[in-house]
Symmetry: C2
Subunit: 419 residues, 2 copies
């Protein structure tokens, strides 16, 4: 046994008694404010720790395995509802959402699709209607892009009364992945789309046959992809395996999953998914249709609803995103909106992608409200709830993006409020 | 049932007969070269397809679940050896490696660590030696970064004879994740590291007690992180759960996994992992020690070893990376090194990160050799095998980064060769 090995084994067995010593040293030694705030709230946890009975250094570990799994000690999950499940935003790190925790939303369940039997039909106003197998699509020039997908109904509770819920429950119908596939423009070249084609029907092969009309704008022609990959692997079932449409920045359901058909036409197809659903009822009783872009939104994920805070140092963290492009600024208020300070944005800041923001903060233990607001590269600023409702009324179910307010009580409990 | 729904159901039942028609249309219709090459090799697969007996549109799909799994139709795995497993580079998409397919390498197995019992000790030449719990580390200011980790022994077969193996077997000890944790500099501020500290011992709590000496260069002080997160979640067990060191660009083993201790000193600690192993034997019999940076490397992953190619359109794809910074250029040769053309780099191109390159190519069915070479932002160009061996000899086991050559035979089989 080397000296180093011996030394660390000795340290290991002595570990329970050391923190108390260190804490005294730390408090006596003029340590930084940061270190003090760590010490003042957290070291008590060590006090009654039993000696380590299962030291992982004393037994050989597990052998390599062909496909990994997360640690059995980790229990973070999606929150499951009958036709959807939400991403635990409060526990995410960085900007990538693990595929296992990507939100899901479907209208008649997740189909089990054999990829060797799956076909993509492209027809309508094209010179060469074609069926594509997966293998054929994967031989075409490909592209990858990191982008968020957000359900248009995400944050819908914001239209009603403020309930005491978590950020996952309120805002968890948004996730970010690295998507890989074929550009729609490549497919259009292949089938020779006709000049009169101005709309495209995209249809899924789920049991709801969800279908949406996509306007063939420059944005769509430049950015749309038919994707078979997610976070380095084939798509996961809930995200459309084996094929989905990706329309970066557009509301989730039009990013049609389990994609089986693209039909080109000269008018919208007026499916039930853009008439009976997914329109926005305005104050004058008219419905706003094809409200496709997800406008800029931000939300503080830590601390957030139903979490418990200790006074002292915290790093405020959250996510901001815009269906119009890059996030340029996120500002945070820790004094109920009186003052705002810029948060640091995590690089790389990508267009139409979750952007993580961070702000160091020391909570003084007094009641307060914390909020975030973001600005995107088009100059659009996330509205307050009042500003949003002034324009949109409260009849809508979709596209809520008002500023989120979290109230922190003297007891350290964080609650969803309107402010 | 809507018209659209009826129409697609009819299409569904007619599907087997349509491709032949389309193929004739395509061949007769003056379609682009691209579409023709797709059609000429791939549509035959449809011919004997039976009618679809299990249409996913006719049965309700699966309900939401709390933690997803990949499709049971997907079987891609790591290639398992006694103390390691390799990433299937030939099947990856984009730049993110799914955590389940991240390569692993360990010296006495993967320890099972209870995160509530795990501690990080920081001691040695510091004013305030401290134990940190996971919870304490996670309250400190955090950072995320997308970076590759590569085993120094990756591509080691390159030092010997060329064997007929896959790109996974040859080069699969490299993977890219989004890592999240605390900057080393933040921890050093917290413990008040002393001016004399020039080296740091990092030790794992695996049963091998792997420990390495890290020089406290500006690069390390600016970039090193103690990570608890990977691809949005807590680290996965094989990648160091619950805590690992990340030294972007440095050889894999010094990114110590299952991290339990950082000790600061004024000289390297000369552990067995940097004396008996992980040094490079040079032609003159001397060993090169602390060869930490992984130099620029690229490899074509599609087509690659043991794959079978059909004549016609292919997209050549591969990965390039450098432990010194960003990849600036990847060039590909499809004519046994006579001419080289620039490949397209997938955005974002990040420093010390896998960068995917792509080049459209139509294979004429003749025997040839395809190769890639990359340049990083320091001006370093990936060497040929001969150039590398001229400097390094062939006694080494580590840090092989010569140009990879794949020979494509007239039979379409791809083989690893030296050229």
């Amino acid at each position: 046994m080397s000296d180093e090995t011996r030394e660390h084994l000795e340290h290991s067995s002595r570990a329970p008694s050391v923190p108390a010593l260190n804490r005294r040293q730390l408090l006596a030694g003029g340590a930084s404010l940061l270190a003090m705030s760590v010490s003042s709230t957290l070291f008590d946890a060590h006090a009654e720790e039993p000696p380590d009975a299962r030291d992982p250094m004393r037994v050989p570990g597990a052998l390599p395995r062909s496909y990994g799994e997360r640690s059995p000690f980790e229990k973070q999950t999606r929150l499951v509802a009958p036709t959807s499940s939400t991403t635990p935003l409060q526990g995410l790190q960085g900007i990538i959402t693990p595929s296992a925790l990507h939100f899901e939303r479907h209208h008649n369940g997740v189909p089990a699709i054999d990829p060797t039997r799956h076909r993509l039909l492209i027809h309508g106003l094209v010179d060469h209607p074609l069926f594509f197998t997966l293998e054929e699509l994967m031989r075409l020039p490909s592209a990858s892009r990191i982008a968020f997908v957000e359900c248009s109904g995400n944050s819908r509770d914001g239209w009603g009364e403020a309930r005491d819920v978590t950020v996952q429950s309120l805002h968890g119908l948004t996730s970010t992945s690295e998507w890989t596939g074929v550009r729609l423009s490549t497919l259009l070249d292949t089938v020779h789309v006709q000049r009169e084609a101005t709309w495209m029907l995209a249809e899924g092969s789920d049991a709801a046959a969800l279908a949406r009309s996509v306007p063939l704008t420059d944005e769509v022609l430049n950015e749309a992809m038919v994707c078979y990959g997610q976070n380095g692997e084939p798509l996961w079932p809930e995200q459309g395996y084996p094929l989905r449409l990706l329309l970066p920045g557009f509301e989730g359901n039009i990013n049609v999953k389990w994609l089986r058909r693209l039909k080109f036409g000269s008018a919208p197809f007026m499916t039930r998914w853009e008439t009976a659903k997914y329109t926005d009822l305005l104050p004058d009783g008219k419905a706003y249709q094809f409200s496709l872009a997800m406008e800029a939104k931000s939300v503080i994920t830590r601390p957030s609803g139903q979490q418990h805070l200790h006074p002292g140092f915290q790093e405020i963290q959250g996510l901001a995103w815009s269906g119009r492009g890059r996030i340029t600024t996120v500002e945070v208020s820790v004094d109920t909106g009186q003052t705002w300070q810029p948060a640091r944005l995590q690089e790389p800041v990508l267009p139409k992608c979750h952007t993580r923001f961070r702000l160091p903060w020391s909570w003084d233990g007094q009641e307060t409200i914390i909020q975030s607001r973001c600005l995107d590269e088009t100059g659009y600023q996330q509205p307050t709830r009042d500003e949003l409702i002034k324009v949109r009324g409260t009849h809508s179910s979709y596209h809520y993006n008002g500023i989120q307010s979290w109230k922190i009580g003297r007891d350290g409990v964080v609650r969803n409020v309107y402010a």
